[in-house]
């Protein structure tokens, strides 16, 4: 079965609820991820966008069992990932974090940071092989192999992110969760890292779940995009279609809100301004979670939560009115 699984990653109805204390005895449930399903093919990039608090980071972490899922299933190459067998999948599934400052141990040299996954998975026969592999990884991500004996603080933000990527690549993963990997970087450096991700994908055939809030970056990186709002996917489909003709009202306003780096386009753009803020996930509105900010909301939206339905091949939308 594992030989010919259709998708590399298959997430089905993933849920992650956190318990939040409010007051002395009261406990509230925070539905960070509330029934998310998607698939990622080999060597493909799926972009995951949404605003802060929508649960996109939690999806990435729960998927890797960094948080124990409340319910739902994750299949990797046809095999279900569980708490018991997750260790055997760590080599295949890796993560790159947003903040290149806090995700690298300041007391470890670059060689030790990149070498740690090699140590854990016993991926070398002798010291020489380990050093060679580290040098190879550093070159692969565009760093100098002489950097190995330095500490993380000696590097700039972009270089640190490269170290984080090298660490993820050390075990030859087939899938990497990229959790806002370029958000903390300057524009010119951001482009360097984006290109590095693309080159690595071409060279090594790695699949990415690319999580970001910047739609311009996500559409550039991904073949397909999933848009999240309050713990659910509201729209998923090919990125070109989603960008050019969004269907869900939330996607529509999200795309119209991107500040376009082009004065001509900015002058002629029709910005759809959403009213108000994202509701608190602790007190989710009944029915469709987006209805409080939606200009098309009707009675039906108050009553039932819309489920994802296929509107065209590969394109799913969760909205009553579209």
């Amino acid at each position: 079965m594992s030989q010919e699984a259709k998708h590399l990653v298959d997430v089905r109805d993933l849920k992650e609820y956190f318990t939040v204390k409010s007051g002395m005895l009261n406990k509230l449930q925070l539905k960070a991820v509330d029934g998310v399903s998607f698939t990622i093919d080999r060597g493909e990039t799926l972009g995951l966008v949404g605003e802060s608090g929508c649960g996109k980071t939690t999806v990435g972490r729960t998927l890797l069992h960094l948080y124990k899922p409340t319910s739902g299933e994750v299949y990797f190459d046809g095999v279900q990932v569980t708490d018991k067998n997750i260790d055997s999948f760590r080599k295949d599934m890796q993560i790159v974090f947003q903040d290149p400052y806090s995700s690298l141990n300041p007391r470890m040299t670059v060689a030790d940071i990149i070498g740690e996954p090699l140590d854990i998975h016993h991926l070398y026969k002798n010291k020489k092989e380990r050093a060679e592999r580290i040098a190879e990884l550093l070159t692969l991500v565009g760093l100098n192999s002489e950097h190995a004996n330095r500490y993380a603080h000696e590097f700039s933000g972009g270089q640190r992110q490269r170290i984080g990527i090298a660490r993820a690549l050390a075990v030859n993963p087939r899938f990497i969760v990229c959790d806002e990997p370029v958000s903390a970087l300057d524009v010119s450096i951001q482009a360097q890292i984006i290109n590095t991700f693309e080159e690595l994908q071409q060279k090594l055939g790695i699949a990415y779940l690319f999580i970001a809030h910047d739609l311009l970056v996500v559409q550039h990186m991904s073949r397909r995009i999933a848009v999240m709002y309050l713990g659910r996917i509201v729209e998923i489909g090919p990125s070109a279609d989603i960008i050019s003709s969004p269907i869900h009202p939330y996607t529509e306003s999200l795309i119209s809100a991107i500040p376009m780096p082009d004065p001509e386009m900015a002058r002629h753009k029709n910005r759809i301004i959403l009213e108000g803020d994202v509701p608190s996930p602790l007190h989710m509105p009944k029915g469709c979670p987006f209805r409080t900010r939606c200009r098309y909301a009707t009675k039906a939206c108050e009553e039932a939560r819309p489920e994802l339905r296929e509107v065209s091949p590969g394109r799913f939308v969760a909205c009553h009115n579209r």
């Binding site: 605003e51 802060s52 700039s156 972009g158 270089q159 300057d186 524009v187 010119s188 450096i189 951001q190 482009a191 360097q192 984006i194 290109n195 693309e198 809030h213 739609l215 311009l216 970056v217 559409q219 550039h220 990125s239 070109a240 960008i243 306003s253 999200l254 119209s256 809100a257 991107i258 500040p259 376009m260 780096p261 082009d262 004065p263 001509e264 386009m265 900015a266 910005r271 301004i273 959403l274 108000g276 803020d277 994202v278």
Partner: protein
């Protein structure tokens, strides 16, 4: 309206001339701003764009004289309606800030005081700069909150900053900054900490307030999208210097500095999907050891010999465009020669 009539009738609202700011640290002198000059006319939106460490925020802090202890303006003049405000003492400056030039910051949470209610902080700003009595102050505070589109303003006045969302806090900051009708609002990355849809709300608000109240805005940001959206004129900064200054159209469609060109090439665009980005190589310059020539030369694909030895001068490309790049000088000379030959 035109710059011509402006220079004849009166001086620009704000003139910054050859401003230098340094920080004196244990490691040595960090030259954050190295001689920037620009004019700002009343009611215009000026954008300052650059990456971290380019000196865009420090240049604004220098105007407002809110540098940290180690920072000092070492050279230059800042003329507000013809008067050099760098000569003001701290008391004069205190009454100047907020009433003539106001500022809003990236993170409203760190700028609002967590132990005072929104109302008391707003009233304080109004009380310091105007001689309104209690009721008038309260009324003004309420009016300001309504102006910036805060819902249930009466209730919000009694609330504390932590009870508000990020977008709401930024609205309160804007209300506070505009309460005394300043001539200039400096916005330092006002939407960087906000989500896209909230960012759109705040940008829309700033645009409509700018039209309604007619103040000038200095918009400091790293986001070329925000700049393109908001600004009449743009300054591109690198290593504390102005690379290029011009109208939004000139900067985006006719960039003359290699750094600006690089920046524009390195942002993903919707129209150029799946085309490879062209990043700027290398990392930002070390402000402790600025090179002798052009600060960007070490990252520039088109660096020439002269770039390494001599700093480029600001050259007028046309009426609404200035660039400081040797490649631009070369390009202009070539164009001139070609023009001369064809004649």
């Amino acid at each position: 309206m035109s710059t011509e009539s402006n220079s004849q009738k009166n001086v620009p609202l704000l003139q910054v001339k050859n401003l230098h700011t340094s920080f004196y640290t244990d490691a040595g002198e960090v030259k954050a701003v190295n001689g920037i000059s620009y004019n700002l006319d009343a009611g215009k939106v000026l954008g300052i764009v650059g990456e971290s460490g380019s000196g865009k925020s420090v240049s604004a802090y220098s105007l407002m004289q809110i540098l940290t202890d180690t920072g000092r303006v070492t050279e230059g003049e800042v003329l507000f309606k013809g008067e050099n405000i760098l000569k003001y003492n701290s008391k004069q400056m205190q009454s100047f800030r907020g009433s003539r030039i106001s500022m809003i910051f990236q993170d409203p949470m760190t700028c609002l005081n967590p132990v005072f209610s929104v109302g008391s902080q707003l009233r304080e700003a109004i009380r310091i700069h105007t001689d309104r009595n209690r009721e008038e102050t309260q009324a003004r505070a309420l009016e300001m909150l309504q102006l910036v589109g805060v819902n249930e303003p009466e209730k919000r006045l009694k609330q504390y900053p932590h009870e508000l969302s990020g977008g709401m806090r930024q609205r309160v900051m804007i209300a506070m900054a505009l309460a005394c009708e300043p001539d200039i609002l400096i916005a330092d990355e006002p939407t960087t900490a906000l989500d896209v849809t909230i960012q759109a709300q705040i940008l829309e608000l700033m645009q409509s307030l700018q039209k309604k109240l007619g103040m000038a805005i200095i918009m400091i940001t790293h986001d070329l999208g925000v700049i393109a959206d908001m600004c009449d004129e743009i300054i591109v900064m690198y290593a504390g210097k102005v690379c290029e200054r011009g109208t939004a159209d000139e900067i985006f469609y006719n960039p003359r500095h290699e750094y600006t060109k690089g920046l524009i090439r390195s942002i993903p665009r919707i129209t150029e999907q799946h085309e490879k980005l062209v990043p700027i190589a290398g990392s930002p310059v070390d402000l402790l050891n600025l090179p002798k020539g052009c600060a960007f030369a070490s990252r520039c694909d088109h660096a020439m010999k002269i770039c390494l030895t001599q700093q480029p001068e600001e050259v007028q490309v046309n009426d609404s465009h200035i660039a400081a790049c040797w490649n631009n000088v070369r390009q202009m000379m070539e164009e001139e020669n070609r023009g001369g030959a064809s004649k």
